[in-house]
Amino acid sequence: MAMPASSTARPRLRTPSAPQPPFPHHPGSAISIGHFSLAEITRLLRRAHLLNNEDPIERSKRLAKRRVALLFYEASTRTRTSFELAAKSLGMDTTLVSNLSSSIEKGESLKDTGLTLRALGAEAIILRHNASGAPYVLEQFTDLPVLNAGDGRHEHPSQALLDLLTMLAHLSPAHASGEAALTAESLKGVTVSIVGDILHSRVARSNLLLLPQLGAEVVLSGPPELLPEDAALIAPNVGVERNFELALQRSQVVMLLRIQSERLAGLNVDLDEYKTRYQLDERRLARLAPEAIVLHPGPIIRGLELTAAVADGPQSKILEQVHNGVRIRMALIERAFAALDAQGKGANQ
């Protein structure tokens, strides 16, 4: 074993470059919010607006009898119902497969479940999965458009879009209807704070990737166990402010997140201390952000991340978010099938 020569400064060496986006995806898929251009998001908002205002009978002819599968490996109320209602509003046949009442329990792989759904006639799959990145596996092996309804701790793009719609409805209505094109300055001067369990939140990640693209400033707030410094490094214009009150004071939008108790194993989080430091109560809201809107992707836990009074108060837009979800998901499903038809892989194939 030779002794090392003393290391001297070397010129920077060329190294193999990492694969760069855009990676190939089905044009109808919605897996990461990072795959969407601002023009595409503008179009989605416009379609969401028009579909929402359309006569329900006319609307139900748009994708009549087309087939979409909802494949859910995790419990869900809002997202599943919202996607299902969206598909039905467009006249579609939907089928729900959940891990608790299917061959998934018998050990069938995601690839095989996807291929089975495709053989049954599903033209697109809406997937909720507990493993980050699962939609990529499904898309790769089925070659179908995959709509990500939340994957592990990774992303929840339809949630970020409905959050955006809700914000725009209050801050810039012309953008909310898709009338005005979104630009890198559409949310300039707007600070959005995202508070709480950022580590486990796919909603936070999708919002983190989306909002700075529109010029918003994102402030993350939470204890170190739930908010690692790395979070601020994944997108521009994202900062960490551990003091919730300072974050709140700067914010036009406050997005609260549920503490994901089911994922807390091994983490040392004192819930009482959390409430003291991070709970949004009426007093804090009135004193520090009396004009801000309050968002939450749900499910909310009253008395933990927010008080009942805030949840039910005038600044809360939580139910508006839920309401907006259906139209966003109609637009996403319509986009997926438009891409399929453009490819000549429609129902008649």
């Binding site: 060496l13 193999p16 792989s109």
Partner: protein
């Protein structure tokens, strides 16, 4: 077996200090004669290889492979793994013990070396350091060495307990074997599937901190220092972090018998290569940050790294076609190591060819005390790779000789095309 005359080539034998135009005669599985070009007379029955424009080097030695036999023949067999090795220019492999069952007995050790396995090149078993890989009771190293073991390791798992590691180091030192550590504090990596950092955060995956590697290496080096009277040989498998490398660097300055290997993926790729959950970029230790990767390059160029080892870890396609967190760790490497080392270490980063070959032959052979391997001196085994050092080619995983295809290097441009691989005087690969 016919004698082989290799003429017209550039003999590159770092162990013997040779880099010159020489002809070689291989006979009875050994290097019989070496002479200046044109001076050797081929026996009448000899096969004659024209190595004009080619490099004639000692067969490569990989001291870290997983051949999956016994027990996991759907991933690889000794026959298929050694065929891949021959295609990659390797003639000696040290096979890790995480087979099924774990290789912790003289019987399995001998079974792996039996002619019935159909090995194309020589296989040297590394045996489990602890019984059943449980990290509790050390095995009978003397008996295992007698059966052919060349080192002890629980690779795939660390030896975590201080007392057990100390005992393993001492016992291995007494019989003259190295302890190879898979340095991962598994108490810090539970549920983790890639390197900790911004990429893991963005992908929503739990990350393994670099301390999980460096703290084990630091602990082990303290034990080696305490036991220094016995001169234990401690070898860090697949080292991947700047912090662990700094500890190895310092240990060697202090004169301890500490060595390490780096895998091509750890000096070429970073966690950014995981991209959108590429399971062919998932292994343990994981692809690290650019800072760690740069530290690997620097240590290789500085001579702190003793050898290149592939950690060839084949897995069947269906095992990798799953959610990232559920995919097994490991990538194949035997057919890409030479091509990557020549392209990057030699052509891009200007390491002399002799040093690159030394890192892949003489040095790993010396680490595990493989006598007569890693050199082409007269009398040594006729283990030889003949390659075109400048030829560019593209690696196609679909054409691999391995049973598995789990490589991140599919479609990569390689340098240095292997023409012949000769194992103990027998042509194991020809192209």
């Amino acid at each position: 077996m016919k004698p082989i005359l290799i003429h017209g080539g550039r003999l590159l034998d770092p162990a013997a200090g040779v880099d010159a135009a020489k002809d070689l005669l291989l006979k009875d599985g050994r290097v019989a004669e070496i002479a200046s070009p044109g001076k050797l007379k081929a026996p009448a029955d000899a096969e004659v290889f024209d190595a004009s424009g080619l490099v004639v080097a000692p067969g490569l030695v990989d001291i870290h492979v997983h051949l999956r036999e016994p027990g996991q023949a759907h991933k690889e067999t000794i026959a298929s793994g050694t065929a891949a090795a021959a295609a990659g220019g390797f003639t000696s492999l040290a096979a890790m013990a995480n087979t099924s069952p774990v290789n912790d007995s003289p019987e399995i050790t001998r079974w792996m070396q039996a002619p019935e396995r159909g090995a194309q090149v020589r296989v040297f078993p590394i045996v489990a350091a602890t019984r059943g890989f449980k990290g509790e009771v050390i095995n009978d190293y003397a008996a295992l060495k007698a059966a052919g073991a060349v080192a002890v390791s629980d690779d795939g798992l660390p030896i975590l307990k201080d007392g057990v590691m100390r005992e393993a180091l001492a016992a291995a030192a007494r019989v003259g074997l190295a302890v190879i550590q898979h340095a991962e504090d598994t108490r810090m990596t539970e549920g983790c599937s890639m390197n900790a950092g911004p990429v893991a955060f963005k992908l929503g995956l739990r990350g393994m901190p670099s301390e999980a590697e460096s703290q084990i290496v630091e602990r082990d080096i303290r034990l080696v220092a305490e036991l220094n009277e016995l001169r234990p040989h401690y070898h860090v498998a697949h080292i991947s972090t700047a912090a662990a490398m700094a500890a190895v660097r310092q240990a060697r300055r202090n004169g301890l018998r500490v060595s390490c290997e780096v895998a091509p993926h750890h000096f070429l790729l970073t966690d950014e290569h995981v991209a959108e959950y590429n399971t062919h970029a998932k292994m343990c230790p994981p692809l690290r940050s650019a800072k760690d990767r740069d530290a690997m390059i620097e240590a290789i160029l500085d001579g702190v790294v003793d050898c290149i080892a592939t950690d060839h870890a084949p897995h069947a396609a269906h095992e990798k076609e799953v959610e990232f967190e559920r995919a097994p760790n490991g990538i194949t490497g035997l057919e890409t190591s030479l091509g990557l080392c020549l392209e990057w270490l030699h052509h891009q980063w200007k390491m002399p060819l002799g040093r690159v070959i030394g890192l892949m032959s003489a040095q790993p052979a010396a680490l595990l005390n493989l006598k007569g391997r890693g050199t082409l001196a007269v009398g040594s085994f006729a283990d030889c790779v003949i390659f075109d050092p400048n030829a560019e080619w593209v690696f196609k995983a679909a054409e691999s000789k391995s049973k598995s295809r789990n490589t991140p290097f599919d479609g990569w441009t390689m340098r240095g095309k292997v023409r012949w691989t000769i194992s103990e005087g027998r042509v194991a690969y020809k192209n």
